[in-house]
Structure formats: C-alpha cells, structure tokens
C-alpha cells in the first residue's frame, strides 16, 4: 500500500497551502491516535491535545463572547458571540444580554464539526470561525457544546441542539424589532451540518420557525460505497475507514449506515414533501470523499420541493474554511452572508 500512499500525500499537497496542510495533517495524525480499533476513544488525550480558548466579554475585532450554562444536569454549555456596538469603550457585563437593536438580526445557531467525536464549542478553530460569521453576517452566533460520541450516541447531539433551539427561541433579547421574533438559522460543518438538518426537522415538527439551514461539508453517509468514496479514499486527508469508525461510534449499536441519522434520504429516511422545511445552503468540497452523499442530500431536498442552493467548491478539501488563506473561504463566507442577510 505504500506506493499508493506516496501519490496520495503528493496530491493533497498540491491543492492546499502549506499551513493548511500542516493543520489538517496534524488533526489527521492526532485523530488516528485517538480512535481505538475496538471503537473506544481516548477522550483524555483528545481533550489534552485540543486547543481551546476562553470566552471574552471584551470585544476583539468587534466581537465579544460569553458562555451560558443552559442545562446543569447535562452540563450543556453554549458560547454566544455578539457584535460590539462600539458605543461604550468598556463593555458592561449587563450588556451581555442587552436586547438586539436592529430591525432584523440573524441568530445563527452553530454546531461545530469533528465527526460527532472531536472538538468543542471552545475549540480555537471554531471560536475563530464563529467570530468570522458574526463579522460577515452581522449576526449573533450561538455555538453549541453538544455531547459527543462514542460516550454519547444518537440522539444526544440532536437533543442538545433541540434544547438550545428552544432556549434561543425564547430569549426576548434576541428578538428582531421588526416582528418580535427570533430569526434563527441553523449552521454547522461536518457532523455539525448533519445536526443542523436533524434539529431543523424537529423544529418543523414542533412549529418553531427556522429561517434557513447552512450546511458546510455536512456529514452524511450510507451503506452503499459511492463512486466518490472509492475514488477519493485516503487521497485528501480522509479515509473511508475513519468515516466508518465515526458512524459506528455515533449510531445506535447494531445500526448500519442506512439509519436515517446518517442517510436521511435513504431507505429509512422520511419524506420531506409538503413539509415546511427551511431553505438550505449546502457547501460541498470537490475533494471530500463523501460528496456523493452530500449531493444526494441536495437532490433529496430538491425532489421534496424544498428550496436549496448548492455551492460546489471544486478544488476544496475538507477544512478549507478553517483558515482564511484560500479563495474558497472568502467565496463561501460571502455566500453565507448573502443567504442570511437576504431576509434582513
């Protein structure tokens, strides 16, 4: 196998800048160490290695953040990011929950990636991404520190997302002046994108209105091996084997990858026809081996008559949005901003 790996390493080097390659390769290496063949996870080492950053109620580059403990029982924490209004030089702690002032303020509930097992809301890479989102979208961002696999399988992450959605929806200080409602968007990358879809489903069932879904390289899959999976296996940082590991860690024991959590438009999925599902922006990276599943997801939405925009970034690998050093990053941020601000 060594021969094919030589080519692999060279190919992915050619499509990403050096520092991105170092960052993602570092994750790849670390994650390999953390996943055990028996399906358990070296959580202590994972937390030790993960780079984290505390919240900061003092604005940095026009954004401040603070954490809220939503549920003491499960330890469910969220990190809220807000744009600084620039009026006061020093932010008062009371201003943390000061009502939003604009006519329409998008509130983006963000679910970080990590294949359901890695990262946290306070991981440095995701703290950075959320701050960017606040800046480009002029939005409030609520990042969810959901429970992770394999210690907490399906549906824990979805339940946590749902808890946060209800909390956000009931905050009067997040209501847009125009209609005294909270304008909620669900967003996420990788497993976070998957969570966003399923929380939106639950919202629709319960009558909470979601303005839109933003899915960045969402994590979907299925029993079948698709063409892209076979073609791209191991070539751009990700292998089928690790994808399988993460599904086995998240899905109920004994399930296969056609479980609706993994494959929402598969044999066990539910139809979205006639459902008032939010409009979706789905970003697919051309070098992501699960793109066939992501594209199938987009097709599934279309077939059910749902509004969906696909952004296919040909030369992008997974994690392209983690560092602002490539065109894809800026294109995608602009699209997300338009998607969100078109309702303002």
């Amino acid at each position: 196998m060594a021969g094919s790996n030589e080519i692999n390493l060279n190919e992915c080097k050619m499509v990403v800048p050096l520092n991105t390659w170092v960052l993602i390769s570092n994750f790849k290496l670390a994650y390999n160490i953390l996943r055990r063949p028996d399906g358990t996870f070296n959580r202590h080492l994972a937390e030790f290695l993960d780079r984290k950053v505390p919240a900061n109620a003092n604005p940095v580059d026009g954004v401040f953040s603070f954490d809220v403990l939503i549920d003491r029982g499960t330890g469910l924490l969220i990190r809220i990011y807000r744009p600084a209004t620039g009026e006061e030089p020093q932010l008062n702690i009371v201003d943390l929950e000061k009502p939003v002032t604009a006519e329409v303020v998008p509130v983006i509930i963000f679910f970080h990636g990590g294949s359901f097992a890695h990262s946290s809301a306070n991981s440095t890479i995701y703290d950075y991404l959320c701050r960017i989102l606040v800046g480009t979208c002029k939005a409030v961002v609520v990042s969810v520190n959901y429970r992770r696999a394999p210690e907490n399988r399906y549906p824990c992450a979805y339940d946590d997302g749902w808890t946060v959605l209800k909390w956000v929806n009931s905050r009067s200080w997040l209501q847009s002046r125009k209609d005294s409602k909270v304008h909620i968007y669900l967003a996420g990358d990788s497993s976070g994108g998957n969570i966003a879809h399923h929380v939106a489903l639950k919202a629709v069932e319960s009558g909470i209105g979601i303005m839109g879904n933003i899915l960045l390289n969402p994590m979907f899959g299925g029993q079948e091996r698709t063409e892209s999976e076979k073609r791209l296996d191991g070539k751009y940082f990700v292998t089928l084997r690790d994808r399988d590991w993460y599904w086995r860690a998240f899905l109920p024991e004994g399930s296969d990858r056609d479980h609706p959590a993994c494959n929402p438009f598969g044999p066990n999925g539910i139809s979205l026809e006639g459902v008032k599902f939010p409009k979706s922006l789905v970003v697919v990276a051309g070098f992501d081996l699960v793109q066939d599943w992501q594209l199938a997801y987009v097709e599934g939405l279309k077939k059910a008559g749902q509004e969906v925009k696909l952004l296919y970034m040909e030369q992008a690998t997974i994690g392209f949005y983690l560092l602002p050093n490539n065109d894809h990053f800026h294109v995608v941020m602009d699209e997300i901003s338009n998607f969100v601000r078109s309702d303002c």
Binding site: N5, N10, N19, W21, I33, H44, E47, F48, A57
Partner: protein, 633 residues
C-alpha cells in the same frame, strides 16, 4: 532513493523547549516569525519551520500506514507535552520510533537535472488575497483585558443587582461616594428579594459588603487582614475539602516534583506556605514507593509565626515525620516562621549544594506583587533568590484571574465574574461545615481584592500569560506538564468531585476550572542554567544559651538563626529556638529518637549561621554545646 538524514536538522533545531542551550533569535524576532493563521488556530509554528514540520508529519503518516496498530498504541501510551508547539510535538512522536521511518515522497528526481530535489509542491497563498485581520495571539489578549464570563440563567432581579453593583463600583472609581452609598442602600434592599442561597444573589452579597467596607472603613484592610493565622488555617482546610482547587494544585505540583526528583537521592522541598502540610503526605508516600527506593527528603515549611507560644509549624513537621517514618522515608523537617514571604532569606532555608531542590508555591507569589511595577518589588527579590538556589523544579499554582489591574472598575468586574463562577462550582458541595467555611475563605479574598489598596491588598492575582512573561524574564524556563498528569488529574476529578470541573492544557501548563472558565493554573519551571550562585556567606558569630530541649534564648540584639547540625554520619538534627518575637524564624525540635550521644556536650559540629547582622565571616565554624550552651568559634 535517498535517505533523508535528519540528525543535522535536529541538532540545529531551535524549536520549542527541546534545546534550551541552542542560540535562539531574540524573542521579538521569534514572535514575528510565527505563522499567523496557525497561531489563530492555537498552534505556534515558525514560518521558517513549516516545511520541516510538514515533512515530519509525512514521515509519521508513513509509519502509521505501515503499522497502524503499533503506531496508535505507541502514540497513545507516550506522554505528550505542549501540543501548541507543533514542531516539538511532532519531533517527540518521531523520537518514539527507534528508526524513524523515511518518506520517499519527500524527494523526487528532477527529470531535467537528474538530481534529487525536495518534494515541495504545496500551493502558495495567493498574494492578492485580501488580508483577514487576525488577532494572532490569544496570550496577548489575556494580557489585554480578557474577561471570561460563564453565566447560568438568572432571574431579572439578579440582573438588576449586577447592574447596580457595576454602577456602584463605577461611582467608587470616580470618587462619588455619596452616590455609591445610595446604591449600597438600594442593593441591600434588593438583596432581600433575590435568592441569596445560590447564584448571583449569593456572590452579590459579598461584593456589596466589600464595597461597603471600602467606602466606610477605607482601604487599609483593617480586621480582614488582621484575621489570625489560626482562623485562616481553618478556613483553608475547609476550602480544601469543599472543592478540588487545592487538591488539584497539590496533585499537579507533586507530579512535577516527583518527576524532577527522579534519580536523585537527596532532595529538599521548600514549601512557601505550609498550612497543615496537606500536600506532603501524598508526596512522601509516592517517594516511598518509587522504584529504587525513596530519597532522603528534607522539607522546609514556611508559615506565619504562631501566637500564644504554639508552634504549629513544628507540630505539622512532627506529624509528617511520623508518616515518613511509617513508610521508611528518611525525613527531616524545618519550619521557617515568617509573616511575609519577602522576609524569608535564602540562607534560612539551609540548602545544601548537593541536594536537589524543589520550590513549591501554592498561591503565594501574587502576594509579592506591588501595585506599581517599581524596581524593588518583592517579587523580583524573591524570584532572584529562588533562582540562586538553583532548584531542580519550581512549582507555581496561581489563581487564573486578572485581579491586579490598576483600574478599580476593571478589577471589580473581573472579580465579580471570577468569584461568581467559583461560587457556582461550590454549589455542588453539600458537606457542612466545609461549604460554609469555604465560602468565608473565598469571601475574604473578595474583600481583599475589592476593599483594599496598597500594601493591604495582597490578593493580586494575575493570569498565566503574565506569570509566563514574569518568570521567563526572571531566568526560568517552563517545564511542561504532560498528558499523564492531565489524565490523572481528570480522572481524580471524575472520581472525587462533582460534574462541571474541567482540566485544560494551556501551552505546557494545566488549568482547573468550572466548565469553560479556568480558575486556577498550575505550572512548573526550571532555572535557566548558569553557574550556581554562591549562597549567602555573611555569617556573623552568634552565641546563645539552650536548655536541655535545645530551646534557646538569644541576646535581643542577635536575631535568631537556623542551626543545622550534622553528625559525622550525616544524619541531620534540627534545633529549636523558642525565642519570642524572633522575626521570621522558628526551629523545630530535634527528633526525640535522635540522641546527641554521650559526648554531646563536646561535640564538634559544623554550622552555618547567618543572622540579620551584616558582619561577614568565613566558614566553617565549630560549635560546642556544653551544659546547655552553644558557642561558636
């Protein structure tokens, strides 16, 4: 195929902490060379080293592919340090392999020149890319007013209370005491309608009290700072029991000390605040169990002088000696009584050049910080003499908070958040009187931070970033705490504490906090090597009397000294002075089992004595103990 010989690169490596003696570019330059974007992701890598790091990652990947199970096992079992220093982390993983795998793809044949060239095909960043302004240094952020807030859902009256507290504090900062007073009255009223059993209501009450004190009693501290040492010890003990902060501090420091003492047979721990010596039984037991047998352990415990003729230092020392005896660890204890750490002089510690020293400071260094960065602040003096002891390790645990900011309102705001998080974490404790007394312990800190100024304000907490700068500047380099210490601390927390506490790794240091807010930071340091500084050699002659129990009385003019007597077989005996009013010193009683011998009266011993007087004298001396007197010649 060319074998890539890495040895040259490694030898010349300036990366991270692996090569402390290589010449490094000056700090400013180093900082500027750090890759911006990776720094924003939490990793510090020099741009000039990116390629090297990338190649090493490739080699590790190859190793992984070739034998995945072995690799994972190895990497999982190894101890990891400071993941932010990516270059070092990658190097340390590579070094786990006896024969580092080479990576053929690193080099390719250039078809034109037929020479091997580095395979360096990474795309370059588009120079026309709009620069995203990026705050590269979170460390910098913490130095510039980081304010971390973790809240739980609060009722409206709680929020109003906080609003009033902030406004009142603002009035105090402006000097508008009459308006502040009226706010105080309003807040007292509001308190009656707010749940003061938990949450913001509880901590608000303490802050209201502290503000009152500041306005009505002035900033001199008064009775709070005059709280007796005895009281403080009781409160401390209950704080120790009620929540894991001190246990974490002790545990982490002991880990580092244990590792530093590995292979050393004569070790000396200097504890900057002995209290009940709660930290040391675990270390003594760990040393007893170490492979190869325990070392000779000396412990010097510093603590405030006891009133009323009690000698708490000695009592603790005896108890620890008892424990050490029971596990067959040769042990000697000395107490050094000092009301302030800056009154301690290095010669009082009687450090033997042959022994390995650990200096242990649990929440003591911040007390040495002045309000202004004046030249002769005690912290610099103390750090300097610590360094002169050439310790094998210095363990430092400090509150992770910015409570030494010059502006009152900033301090007040930070403290309000810090302590409400700490109180929140205490909610989980249900054991009494631990919880109530722990709260009083914390309340005293709050009062000091809020209502005192100048020398009365001793709780001058500073965050890890600032301590790093300070300690590096004083000639120390970090000794990173590893994934093993992290894991054990996490596991102990899971077993013995309520949910919600979390340990985090912060560039070689460990923090313990409540959910996402670190509250206490533990770090370890080594003195940057140089020729060991000469110990203080000013040693005037002293003579005095001592009774059968060797408690001596000194002439008032001669300040007490520490006597360290050795017999020929190197056994150590300590003598005690019962001198009252002896500033700064206390001597433990000799171990009753250790007799001086029949010829005690005419024993020749070597001593070094250095009282406060500055008349220099040479070493060594002879001391005679005769009929209850000791005489130096």
């Amino acid at each position: 195929m060319v074998l890539y010989d890495d040895s040259a690169t490694l030898a010349g490596s300036c990366s991270g902490s692996s090569s402390s003696f290589s010449s490094k570019p000056p700090p400013m330059q180093q900082q500027q060379d750090i890759d911006d974007l990776l720094a924003g992701a939490g990793y510090k890598v020099r741009s000039s080293e990116l390629r090297k790091v990338a190649h090493r990652l490739e080699r590790l990947e190859t190793a992984m592919v070739n034998s995945p199970a072995d690799f994972s096992q190895l990497a999982s079992d190894t101890i990891h340090y400071n993941p932010s220093d990516l270059a070092s982390w990658v190097d340390s993983l590579l070094s786990e392999f006896a024969e580092p795998p080479t990576c053929p793809s690193e080099f390719i044949m250039d078809p034109v020149t037929n020479q091997t060239v580095a395979n360096d095909v990474w795309t370059t960043t588009n120079p026309n890319m709009p620069q995203v302004h990026h705050n590269i240094s979170y460390e910098q952020q913490s130095l510039n007013n980081q304010l971390t807030v973790v809240t739980a859902m609060e009722e409206d009256s709680g929020i109003r209370l906080v609003h009033m507290l902030m406004t009142c504090a603002e009035c105090v900062q402006r000097g508008d005491f009459s308006l502040a007073t009226s706010f105080l009255k309003d807040m007292q009223g509001l308190l009656t309608r707010v749940n003061t059993v938990c949450g913001i209501g509880k901590v608000a009450g303490h802050f209201i009290d502290a503000l009152s004190r500041r306005i009505f009693q002035g900033i001199g501290g008064g009775s709070i700072n005059g709280g007796s040492a005895f009281e403080n010890e009781i409160l401390y003990h209950h704080f120790y029991e009620a929540c894991p902060y001190l246990k974490f501090a002790h545990f982490t420091a002991n880990q580092a000390i244990l590792e530093a003492f590995d292979g050393h047979d004569c070790v000396h721990v200097v504890d900057f605040n002995l209290m009940h010596g709660l930290q040391w039984p675990a270390l003594i037991q760990a040393l007893a169990l170490r492979p190869g047998g325990p070392p000779l352990l000396r412990l010097t415990g510093i603590g405030p002088p006891s009133p009323d003729g009690r000698d708490s230092l000695r009592e603790i020392g005896l108890r620890l000696a008892e424990l050490a005896r029971s596990v067959n660890v040769r042990f000697a204890f000395r107490g050094v009584a000092a009301s302030r750490l800056e009154d301690v002089k290095p010669w009082m510690l009687q450090v033997n050049p042959k022994e390995s020293v650990a200096v242990n400071s649990i929440m003591q260094l911040h007390r040495l910080l002045g309000s202004d960065s004046n030249l002769n602040s005690p912290i610099e003096t103390v750090l300097s003499w610590i360094r002169s002891l050439n310790p094998k390790i210095m363990t430092v645990v400090e509150q992770e908070a910015n409570h030494n900011q010059p502006g009152f309102l900033d301090r007040f705001t930070e403290a309000l958040h810090y302590y409400s998080t700490m109180f929140d974490s205490l909610e989980a404790c249900t054991v009494e009187p631990d919880k109530t007394l722990a709260e009083i312990y914390i309340q005293r800190e709050i009062t000091n931070v809020v209502s005192c100024e100048g020398s009365a304000r001793v709780e001058r907490h500073e965050p890890l970033g600032k301590w790093r700068t300070r300690l590096s500047g004083a000639g120390f380099r970090p000794s990173h705490l590893g994934s093993n210490a992290y894991k054990q601390a996490s596991m102990l927390l899971t077993l013995f504490s309520a949910e919600g506490y979390s340990v985090e790794e912060n560039e070689g240091c460990l923090t313990l906090g409540w959910h996402s807010r670190p509250l206490i930071a533990a770090s370890a340091w080594q003195a940057v090597s140089h020729a060991p500084a000469a110990l203080d050699t000013h040693r005037p002659v002293v003579s005095g009397a001592c009774d059968r129990n060797f408690s001596s009385t000194h002439p008032p003019t001669a300040l007490a000294s520490l006597l360290f007597l050795k017999r020929n077989d190197e056994e150590e005996i300590c003598f005690e002075s019962g001198e009252k009013g002896t500033p700064g010193l206390d001597w433990p009683y000799p171990n009753k089992e250790r007799e001086m011998g029949k010829n005690a009266a005419s024993q020749h011993v070597h001593v070094s004595i250095s009282p406060h007087l500055s008349t220099p004298l040479a070493l060594p001396y002879n001391i005679f103990i005769r009929d209850g007197h000791f005489i130096l010649t």
